[in-house]
Amino acid sequence: MNITLVAGPPGIGKTTWINQFLSTSKQPLFYLCPAAGTEAVDRLRVGYHFPEVTVVEDTQAAALLMNLPDQAQIYIELGFHLDLAALPFNQLPCRKVAIVPPELAQLTEQSEWHDWADELVAGNKIQVPHPNCFPETRRMPLTGQVFDPPSLDELLTEITGGAYGQVIRLKGIFEMPDGQAFDIDFVEGLPGIEYTELKLPRSLKGRPTRPSSLEVVGYDFQQKTMAEALGVSCLSDELIAQYQRQYRQQYKTTDLTNNAEENVA
């Protein structure tokens, strides 16, 4: 069994770094994201992008680590809020990788990551939050919600532009009216908001049951106003049903029905 611990500041590219191994490995793969909660976006993303990877819940972690097959590859992503010096995993025989901004990727530099890691990897060119100015993480569960796409666009522009507090990181899984889901990612200092369509079966029968959620990392959030705007950007039962009817039909015919016309407008 081969355990890799991955740490680094928010937005540095921990998940991206892990993903390269998840997509190529032929060994049984396991992914943990300790103390992040079951609806953590990182956890959902790995599950959605790499269905062959086992995403391990915190409660099962101990039992699992005892009983893994020899050739198992385990990736443990450590949230920036965890105290690296006090990790229970540190006792395990493992490879400790810290992903840091390129200018810090020298072993001679000083930081929490340098003290802890065996290996330094150059990640995104971002500003590392000052240790005294620790950012907060807000997670908003979105399971069952379907978004009006143009509203979501507007809202993400606002959120990442700082309309509801300073955001250094945003990631989320969002359901769309055509039954598809998107993985959406923003890192302050990197250009644009990245949209990745998830390769999942279309959910066109009522509200989707697969989990989705949004996480923002930053400072001085007006969470209530943000949650309200999110709510207004979600579709009602009636609209979801209308869209789904329309999309189900669209896959059968290209006719422009009265109904479709109303919906498109």
Binding site: T254, D255, L256, T257, N258
Partner: protein
Amino acid sequence: MKWAILSGIEGNLTAYEAVLKDLRQLRQPVTELYILGDVIGLSGNNLKNNNLQDDSLQNDNEAVIRRLRHPGVGQLKPQVCVGWWEEQCFSLHGLSGLPDAPELMAAVGGDGVKALWDSVSRKSVQWLRSQHFGFYELDCLLIHGSMASYADELTPETPAIELCDRLIRADANHLFCGRSGRTFECWVNPNQLHSTVTTLDGPQPTQDQSKTPRRIVGVGSVGRTPGQATYTLYSPGSNQLSFRTVNYGQAKKGKAKGFGFP
């Protein structure tokens, strides 16, 4: 593949039957039957017959709708979109944004409004409401008026730039429409236009906006002219277009009481 494209039955069942008969006699059979709106109207025997106790004067709007919904075994199932008359009907029944059908009132007066109201059941209105807005098939848009409006009456006399605009809005190479009731074929060739936009950032590069020729086809009217129905045949594969005229005998009693829309 061969399409028959009809419009403007306007409640004239006799005319529609005559066209169906004509279709059956074609050497190459039709594979799709499109009806571009105005299936109801006041060109049939739509008399206020409830008090007349005369079964021979049937309500043609209902009869036409029945015929469309149940074409019979082995016959083509028509694909129907809504037209001007259907929109008037929706307005009368409070199913559109505009209540009380002022356009209908202006066109046929109070008697006509009442005749239309009396001749289409609520159930049939619901069925009409569930019909299509138009059809996009291959590089064709089939619609009653145009994308600008169901009331848009395009003819060869319509200003060229307006025809051009309707083709742009249609976003198709061939626009089949039925509002005018006429059969015509109009090729519009927007062969030159230079557009230069200047913004706060200064002048942008000039763009040549010319386009390849596109076509508007008036598909005729089945029921508007008593005794003569016109419709269109189109083969998308060979791009062959033809207009058909069907002369038929008048229905027995007092056909076409003169509510034909101009």
